[in-house]
């Protein structure tokens, strides 16, 4: 039964997921191509100096990649369900409606997690070639909220897409617009250190958001 649910989700998401993963890998590749170029033209010690003391952010181009992935997977997964209200078919399956939504959400989360894991491992792996942990660790702390934003964006868009009433969709978009910027405050490397855990908790809480609009759909709100 769960295999079938996952099968359907995979059919919807697979091309988006694969293309997205490739794009993300290309961005990580570009990042270090640029590092390679900059350290060739600017001495490596100066480059390190700029990173350590002048707030040079060599991974900036990754900033919105996780969010883009979250939104893309959410669209790929939930938009086809709302076309012609196909979600009715899903809710009619002989499975508890909330469980099936949670399974869909978990699948999307797993896909994102897999993609982000690939990016992070690739990033860390290549970075280890150029930089010591003293530069990589703060970079990862700064990357963390961007990845969390990807999950939050995914959860919030699922909520928005499944909501049956346009007025409330708009209100949810407004709410999302207040939340997503929390993950993108500017600051020096590792500035998010004190708040990453709270943001992670907030993001995990958001994962069940889609149950709300799913329920509203089931009860015929219009």
């Amino acid at each position: 039964m769960w295999k079938s649910v996952i099968y359907k989700e995979w059919l919807k998401v697979r091309w988006f997921a694969i293309v997205y993963a490739l794009l993300g890998i290309l961005v990580v590749g570009y990042l270090f191509l640029k590092v390679q170029h900059d350290t060739t033209f600017n001495q490596t010690n100066n480059y390190w100096y700029l990173i350590l003391f002048k707030k040079l952010n060599f991974y900036r181009s990754l900033q919105f990649i996780p969010l883009a992935g979250g939104l893309l997977v959410a669209i790929a997964q939930y938009f086809p369900e709302t076309v012609n209200k196909r979600i009715k078919l899903t809710f009619h399956l002989p499975v508890n409606e909330n469980k099936i939504l949670l399974t869909m959400m978990s699948f999307g989360t797993a896909i994102l997690l897999a993609a982000y894991l690939v990016f992070t491992l690739l990033f860390t792996g290549i970075a280890a070639f150029y930089f010591p942990t003293d530069i990589i660790a703060p970079a990862l702390v700064s990357l963390a909220p961007w990845f969390l934003a990807g999950f939050a964006g995914y959860y919030l868009l699922a909520l928005i897409v499944l909501e049956p009433v346009w007025k409330y969709r708009f209100l949810y978009v407004l709410t999302a617009a207040t939340i997503i910027p929390l993950y993108f405050e500017n600051g020096p490397a590792a500035a998010y250190q004190p708040v990453n855990l709270s943001l992670a908790v907030l993001t995990i809480l958001l994962s069940i958001a889609l149950l709300f609009s799913g329920y509203r759909f089931r009860k015929g709100e219009m």
Partner: protein
């Protein structure tokens, strides 16, 4: 447990302030095929949505196999086959993928009728459902329901977008299947001719009320249309008790009633109403439906 497949009690629903119906009651017996007829806006889709648990009525309840449709258990849902208006299915799948998908959910999944129907379609194995014609999609949707082998089939406007050939195919297949396997069907369609071939019982709804619920043959026998031409066109029979509906063009009258020819004639004579060209008009279900609900 009741012997009804579907039982709706005191159903009341409003959209905002607009009443759809109040205290609607009806039931569908196991093994019967019931057609829900009604004009646009009479609440057909509302009823289907309540039956499938996609709408919470303001009050009252619908039971399917004794369970409130707002909280159907998975076991009960497995007994219900549901055809969404427009034969909506997961159009991003092809016929193999969708069969594989659904087969995982139903213990009694029987793919034979599905593949039998699919073999009649001229579709390629990798063709997505979204690229199929309406008729082909209807066969996919029907095939899936048949493979699910449910005890109760709820079909929302199955004739929508189908050409006559596919409609006929759909109906014949369905009726044979239902009768052979003692299935219950609850269906709506806005093409009433189709219903005639399919249903045992009819439920006719108008705004806010049920106009008729009975065996379709009994209904057709008891509901009659008489044609006559009045000598005095100013006479109105509209408010007479025996008249269900009347269509009047100048002096030409169509009277719809449950009363017999003799009753009507004696009524006219008793009241001294002069008429000519009296006819007992043969009606199909569609004529009867229009006669009952009016053209407007």
């Amino acid at each position: 447990m009741s012997s009804y497949a579907i039982e709706c009690k005191n159903l009341t629903h409003y959209y905002g302030k607009k009443m759809v119906y109040e205290d609607l009651n009806f039931h569908v017996e196991e093994g019967s095929i019931l057609g829900l007829l009604g004009k646009n806006g009479a609440g057909k889709t509302t009823t289907i949505n309540i039956l499938n648990g996609f709408l919470q009525p303001r009050s009252g309840e619908c039971l399917i196999y004794g369970e409130n449709t707002q909280h159907l258990t998975p076991q009960n849902k497995a007994r219900i086959g549901f055809l969404i208006e427009g034969h909506i299915q997961y159009a991003f799948m092809n016929i193999h993928q969708i069969e594989k998908f659904y087969s995982g959910f139903y213990e009694s999944w029987n793919p034979e009728p599905y593949w039998e129907l699919m073999s009649k379609l001229k579709v390629t194995p990798k063709q997505k459902i979204s690229t199929m014609s309406c008729g082909q999609r209807s066969q996919v949707a029907l095939g899936l329901i048949l493979a699910q082998d449910p005890d109760l089939l709820i079909l929302d406007d199955f004739s929508m977008g189908l050409d006559p050939g596919y409609r006929r195919l759909f109906i014949d297949y369905l009726r044979e299947y239902a009768k052979a396997k003692k299935k219950t069907i609850f269906t709506t369609s806005h093409i009433i001719q189709d219903m005639e071939r399919l249903i045992d019982d009819v439920l006719i709804m108008d705004y806010n009320r049920v106009l008729a619920q009975q065996n379709v043959n009994d209904f057709m026998r008891s509901f009659k249309q008489f044609y006559l031409e009045l000598e005095d066109p100013s006479i109105s029979l509209k408010d007479e008790d025996f008249v269900v509906n009347i269509e009047k063009v100048h002096n030409k009258l169509e009277i719809y009633t449950y009363e017999s020819e003799e009753f009507v004639k004696s009524f006219l004579e008793k009241n001294g109403i002069k008429y000519q060209a009296f006819q007992n008009v043969e009606m199909g279900l569609e004529d009867a439906f229009i006669g009952l609900t009016g053209k407007y």
